[in-house]
């Protein structure tokens, strides 16, 4: 597709070598268009997190390339050189581990704002508070350290930190799996709003409910390769691959769907 913002071509990632080599990602190609949300589903060990890291520039693939615009992101040295590094941001799975426990939510975000925008301290604090406010974190909560915040709040701080760079793509690796149901709904509404503002989102999850709700297109991953991909709605209504069928049959509460809540 021509308007692809980011494109992965025949990406392979292998960990280890020799007889113990694990081929985590095998010959996977995908693209993300501007303003769309794609989903990557699969069970643990299917390679979806590795693929997310490849897209985010954190894991160099052994083969294949990742194109951002027209350029490969993995050139000599570091991935995403210069300004491009800002444009792809990641939100990690574990809101307990991905925030520095010793600094407040405000400092966490302000640090990123300062880094990306070269603002003065007071200016970056103001921008950070504004950003946190949009995420539903009050000024009072912004002064708290991670352990004083709930899981959902921590995850929203992570999102605020990622957004401080004004990215074009947000890669979210299981952002909802460690938080409560009501916090999950808040976070998803937030993502929905961001999509409306033109951000692209790659959502990695094993929660098919979340995928169904948020994404337009979905890639189903098993043993490092895609077994099925397509429009989310079509894949959910008419899964072709046996594995996808099994996945969809396992969603709890599925019998209630369409019954009118």
């Amino acid at each position: 597709m021509s308007d692809a913002l980011i494109e992965a071509r025949q990406v392979c990632v292998t960990f280890g070598s020799g007889s113990r080599a694990v081929r985590a990602v095998r010959d996977v190609s995908l693209h993300i268009n501007a303003g769309e949300a794609i989903g990557i589903v699969g069970e643990s060990g299917s390679g979806k997190s590795t693929l997310a890291r490849v897209l985010a520039g954190l894991q160099r693939p052994d083969q294949g390339e990742v194109l951002f615009g027209d350029e490969s992101i993995y050139q000599r040295g570091r991935a995403y050189r210069g300004d491009k590094r800002r444009l792809v941001q990641m939100v990690f799975q574990d809101p307990y581990g991905s925030l520095n426990p010793r600094i407040t939510a405000l400092s966490t975000v302000a640090e990123a704002v300062k880094f990306h925008g070269e603002h003065s301290r007071s200016e970056s604090n103001r921008l950070s508070l504004e950003l946190l406010g949009q995420m539903g974190i009050s000024e009072r909560d912004a002064a708290k350290k991670p352990r004083q915040l709930s899981g959902g709040q921590r995850q929203r701080v992570s999102v605020a930190r990622a957004l401080s760079a004004h990215p074009e793509i947000l890669i979210a690796d299981e952002p909802t799996s460690a938080i409560d149901q009501s916090a999950q709904a808040q976070l998803l509404n937030l993502f929905q709003g961001l999509l409306g503002d033109g951000l692209s989102i790659a959502l990695v999850s094993h929660d098919l409910g979340v995928i169904r709700y948020l994404t337009n297109r979905v890639y189903v991953m098993k043993d490092g390769a895609f077994v099925e991909s397509g429009l989310t709605q079509e894949v959910f209504e008419n899964p072709q691959h046996a594995y996808t069928k099994q996945l969809i049959a396992s969603i709890p509460g599925r019998h209630l769907q369409g019954a009118g809540a």
């Binding site: 069970e43 643990s44 009501s182 396992s250 969603i251 709890p252």
Partner: protein
């Protein structure tokens, strides 16, 4: 496997929890209350769901049923847990040893860290089998094999000699269930048994729990924050919010005719029912933190039907609004019309 739900006739009550108060004694005069007036029954042969957000007290209630509150420095301050003529809220550690594991089995939350990493699967099961009864080594081994077979582990003779790291998360959780079954308990407590496991594995574990229920007429208490899951597997459910039970009833009743605003809100916030692209309905605010409970109904600050009299006095108790259906909302009677 049978998918039939339990018949309407109320079955024998195994455990009767009344006005249970759990908390932490911080100083001589300062008590931090974690659970306040938990109030429900566990019936024989049922799968009972315990739902609530983090901090709602569901894990604490669970721990009070296996007598391990002390390890979390929490204490029972009041109320009773009647089980087979004993009050579990008051028995000492010596009596607990005959109950815990023996009569009430426990499947921990994390399958990945649950099993002892430096002991073989067989060794752990033999330990579980021998802990209360005098069995010979050979007997225990036989029983351990039986247990592995019971939880549908293929090639039990191989798994017996393996270590936890060699098993997948789903297999490990099956082993934990096998260990919980070792003494043929009356009740199995499963505290978020599928957190961190894949949906397909989750479905298998749930199927297994249902089989165990049907085969041994055992009661299963399933703690979860996933209402959809509870709906799928449970017969009855207890909804907890802010350290207290807000609604108790059959899953079908509560899903179709919820009588507490919190349950109504939870039902609405369910993502698997949402239309993609529309805004999800969220519950206002955050769950009340421990020690920050408002006066009156603890949901009042987040409730869309709140009225002035909701905010005063003590937390309202559960009242039977329909037969076998309890709600702690003082306006439960008016909700039917309001929630349409």
């Amino acid at each position: 496997m049978s998918t039939a739900t339990v018949t309407e006739s109320p079955s024998e009550v195994l455990v009767e929890i009344r006005d249970l108060v759990i908390g932490i004694q911080r100083t001589r005069a300062d008590r931090l209350i974690l659970v306040d007036s938990a109030d429900f029954d566990i019936r024989r042969g049922e799968i009972l769901g315990l739902v609530g957000e983090s901090g709602s007290g569901k894990t604490m209630v669970c721990r009070s049923l296996i007598g391990t509150l002390k390890r979390r420095s929490a204490t029972i301050f009041g109320g009773t847990i009647m089980f087979d003529g004993m009050d579990l809220a008051k028995i000492d550690e010596r009596r607990w040893r005959s109950v815990r594991g023996n009569r009430i089995g426990y499947v921990p939350q994390s399958a990945l860290t649950g099993p002892n990493p430096v002991m073989t699967i067989g060794g752990q099961l033999v330990e579980a089998v021998r802990c209360n009864r005098n069995r010979t080594e050979r007997d225990a081994r036989k029983r351990a094999m039986e247990l592995l077979d019971l939880v549908h582990i293929r090639r039990p003779e191989v798994v017996y000699d393996q270590y936890p790291f060699q098993l997948s998360g789903g297999m490990r959780q099956r082993v934990m269930i096998a260990a919980a079954l070792a003494q043929d308990p009356d009740i199995i407590l499963a505290d978020e048994p599928t957190t961190g496991l894949d949906v397909t594995v989750q479905a298998e574990i749930m199927k297994l729990l249902r089989e165990i229920r049907t085969e041994f007429n055992m009661s299963v208490v399933l703690v979860s924050h996933d209402l959809a899951l509870i709906d799928d597997v449970c017969d009855r459910l207890v909804v907890m919010h802010g350290g207290t039970c807000v609604e108790v009833g059959s899953v079908k009743e509560v899903a179709q005719n919820p009588k507490h605003p919190y349950t109504i809100a939870l039902n609405r916030a369910r993502i698997e029912l949402a239309t993609p692209g529309t805004e999800l309905i969220t519950i206002r605010g955050n769950p009340p933190g421990v020690g920050e409970w408002p006066s009156g109904c603890r949901f009042s600050e987040r409730c869309e039907f709140v009225q002035d009299d909701c905010r005063v006095g003590a937390s309202p108790p559960l009242l039977e609004v329909e037969s076998n259906h309890w709600s702690a909302c003082i306006h439960a009677g008016d909700l039917g019309a309001a929630s349409e």
